[in-house]
């Protein structure tokens, strides 16, 4: 019901470097369990921030808070300088600018691949069907999925499904992409095709926040790596430093365990 429109974004003047995403001292609890305990994050345009951390450290919760799927208890989240934690802000309008890809793909099983992709452009952005489909096909073409356009998702491999999910998020030209362990549900063989797709997005300058356990991939795409533990960012920095020469014993411990699991 608020009058806030897209024009409200980017309140600072031109020439300043407002980060696309600015998370400031965000807290979140589920019942008595404190899941986020003062997380701060700044993601400048065209950069990639990678979140690492053990299962349950709060990576998914942080991403869901940014996308307003979960409401924060305290702190602020800004998108292009605009406070999106303000209750006056229309969450649907905010989500239109943020793409999110999930661990479990979450394609719509009752819709063909192309219809999965054109749903949001058509219904949310009012793009006419023929134009939405042409754009969707062009995207599928670019990611080597053109021959799957008329298939139902359950006919696709996991890797293909996840790439379609990425294309589906791209179809609304998001300002920011959130990726939550997008390869964790995949066979090792299929992981690479999805990671290649994400790398391609990075090459095109997409601003992204990525939660992952793939450390090799993290060091390739990250501009900043944040290590989360128990809802706090314990260590952050360049991928070289955090992943190969961590200061914190907890970070070192976590990386050793990941290494032992054969993921480095």
């Amino acid at each position: 019901m608020s009058a806030a429109g897209p024009a409200a974004a980017g309140t600072t003047g031109p020439g300043t470097t407002t980060p696309v995403l600015a998370v400031d001292d965000v807290h979140k609890s589920f019942g008595t369990e404190q899941v986020l305990r003062g997380v701060s994050l700044a993601v400048p345009e065209h950069t990639v921030t990678v979140l690492i951390g053990a299962s349950g450290s709060g990576k998914s919760t942080l991403l869901r808070c940014v996308n307003l799927l979960t409401r924060i208890d305290d702190g602020t989240i800004r998108l292009d300088g605009r406070d999106i934690s303000d209750p006056e802000v229309d969450p649907d309008e905010v989500r239109r600018q943020i793409g999110m890809v999930f661990q479990s793909f979450n394609l719509f099983p009752h819709l063909r691949v192309l219809d999965n992709i054109t749903l949001a452009p058509r219904r949310v952005h009012g793009v006419p069907r023929d134009r939405a489909e042409a754009a969707g096909l062009a995207l599928l073409e670019r990611f080597g999925l053109a021959d799957k356009a008329q298939q139902y998702p359950d006919r696709l491999s996991g890797g293909q499904q996840q790439r379609v999910a990425i294309v589906r998020s791209l179809a609304v030209a998001p300002r920011l992409m959130l990726m939550d362990e997008v390869t964790s549900a995949l066979d090792p063989v299929l992981v690479n095709e999805v990671l290649a797709t994400v790398r391609e997005l990075k090459g095109e300058g997409m601003t992204m926040v990525i939660a992952t356990h793939e450390m090799g991939f993290a060091s390739q795409v990250a501009d900043e790596v944040c290590f989360l533990e128990s809802g706090r960012i314990l260590e952050r920095g360049e991928p070289e430093q955090v992943l190969h020469d961590p200061h914190e014993p907890a970070t070192r411990d976590f990386l050793r365990r990941v290494h032992e699991a054969g993921r480095l």
Binding site: R95, G99, S104, V124
Partner: protein
């Protein structure tokens, strides 16, 4: 089984022997099943036909000449059942969906609606359909409200609609709730509003899953439109009743039963097929 395509390898001698054995086993099983069916049904028929009351039963329930005579009247009544079923189905779909949506809504502002819908469903699911028909059919005209119909057909059908909407609402609600929340999360993160998510993502999947129980309810509805005959509406059952009371012969009831079966058996077969297919699809989706 026996044909071999161009690309398929020739089966080995051992495989051919196994196939022959399997074929023999299948033939034997069919034979046993067929024979036992004949024996059981034959025994039942013999029991009925040789019972001391059979000649009288045959005369009062299976008088085919009389049956043919009353067929047009009963069929005429059945047409009313069919018409009412079609009209009721449309109304039930609308009302049932409205109730299901009200009950599954989470918005705080809709709390009163949610409570109202819950009370409605509890009420109409808990009272026998026949009682609802009697109460509406005789109660509403007794109120003497201006502008409210006193047509028993309309009132009786309304009563059936009220009851079935409660059943259908619950079936639809279970379908809606069975769609995993991650589907909504994905839709919302694409910028779809709550309404668009419901309309384009949740409802299409939820409804598809409950097609078999909905078809079951449709068959029951067709039969239960016969209940409004208690109000004096001349449907198939009432027509049969009129004919049979004229002659003290129950063959018209058997005719009505057969007519209902002609309608319901194909429907139940279709329902069965849908159910099996839906189960197969759900099983196929378990492994990602």
């Amino acid at each position: 089984m026996t044909t071999t395509g161009a690309g398929t390898p020739q089966p080995s001698a051992e495989e051919l022997r196994r196939r022959a054995v399997r074929q023999r086993q299948a033939r034997r099983r069919t034979l046993v099943a067929g024979a036992s069916s004949v024996v059981v049904l034959g025994a039942l028929a013999a029991l009925v036909v040789t019972s001391p009351g059979w000649p009288v039963v045959q005369e009062t329930f299976f008088d085919w000449a009389y049956g043919r005579e009353v067929l047009p009247a009963v069929f005429e009544g059945l047409l009313l059942n069919i018409r009412l079923t079609i009209i009721a189905t449309v109304c039930i779909a609308v009302l049932g969906l409205g109730l299901a949506l009200a009950r599954t809504s989470t918005a705080a502002a809709l709390a009163p609606l949610r409570i109202l819908a819950t009370v409605y469903v509890d009420l109409f699911r808990g009272v026998p359909t026949l009682l609802v028909i009697l109460l509406v059919g005789f109660g509403v005209p007794a109120l003497g409200l201006a502008g409210v119909t006193s047509s028993v057909v309309v009132l009786g059908t309304t009563a059936v609609i009220l009851t079935y909407s409660a059943y259908v609402a619950e079936v639809l609600r279970s379908g809606i709730l069975s769609v995993h929340p991650s589907q909504s999360a994905a839709a919302r993160s694409l910028g779809l509003t709550a309404g668009q998510t419901l309309r384009h993502v949740v409802l299409p999947q939820g409804i598809r899953r409950v097609v078999p129980p909905l078809l079951n309810d449709f068959v029951s509805l067709l039969k239960d439109t016969g209940l409004i005959s208690v109000l004096g509406v001349v449907d198939a059952i009432r027509a049969a009743q009129i004919e049979s009371s004229r002659s003290f012969n129950y063959t018209p009831y058997v005719v009505a039963a057969l007519l209902f079966l002609v309608l319901t058996i194909p429907l139940t077969r279709v329902t069965d097929r849908f159910m099996l297919r839906s189960i197969a699809r759900q099983n196929a989706q378990v492994g990602v």
